[in-house]
């Protein structure tokens, strides 16, 4: 989709939202993204909103929905570049996007994504209680 191209880099899908999205574009983005996840088996999604100056309740809810969908497909998503003005507005609207992981920029976002994907891996392969620890706590060997 032209307004929010999806790039595949290794195991990560990078989506940069380039324009203010119409409601239907946001819905297409969700379909496109989840579809690509399924097709490619990518484990991480980086969603870049750094160019977006207006995020209303519809897009806010879409972000929640997309995050949930990504999780259901066994992948991780980090949203980056939420502008301060947008963050404040969303919070005042009552949308805290609790189910969405975020980072301040793409660099940090990719680092976080790496950690999240690794942690998820450990959760699957490590049996809890094996040495008194569970998978989550000790996957962050490298920070």
């Amino acid at each position: 989709m032209a307004r929010a191209p999806v790039l595949r880099i290794g195991n990560t899908l990078v989506v940069t939202v380039l324009e203010d999205l119409h409601d239907r574009d946001a819905m297409s983005l969700q379909t496109e993204l989840l579809g690509q996840l399924e097709r490619t088996g990518a484990t991480g999604v980086l969603l870049d909103l750094s160019v977006i100056e207006i995020v209303d309740s519809f897009l806010g809810r879409m972000l929640n929905d997309i995050a949930a969908g990504v999780r259901l497909l066994g992948a991780q998503m980090v949203v980056v570049g939420i502008q301060p003005a947008v963050a404040i507005t969303l919070v005042e609207l009552g949308l805290e996007l609790r189910g969405v992981r975020t980072a301040v920029n793409a660099d940090r976002g990719l680092a976080l994504l790496r950690r999240l994907v690794n942690a998820a891996l450990y959760q699957v392969t490590m049996r809890p209680g094996l040495d008194g620890r569970n998978g989550k706590g000790n996957a962050h060997g490298h920070r």
Partner: protein, 132 residues
Amino acid sequence: MPILGEDDIVQSRQHAREAARQLGFGAVDQSRIATAVSELARNIVRYATDGRGQITIRQLTSTDGRERTGIEIVVSDEGPGIPDIDQALSDGFTSGGGMGMGLPGTRRLMDEMTIESAVGSGTTITIRKWRR
């Protein structure tokens, strides 16, 4: 500015943001104003008859001694009207839950909001924000 369809939601919020910017509102207020207009424009597309309505943006100058600039946006439609305005304004009908018209949220973003509505005769919502 007429609202004729979904595409006009983006256009009206962009217009509102630009108008706010020209009136000297800061980035955060521009975002608040644009988002409030987006919510109201979407209500028109979703609930008004044929999804049609009207948005008017104008500058305000206060007359109470202090010289303040503000923005006023009037969003109106000839739709079915809001049967219970109080209920629509109560927090149970926030946009966060995915239902309702997001009026409480819009109210929080602006300084003033007035609703005129009656079943069968349409709705007019006026929102205002003053520059600090």
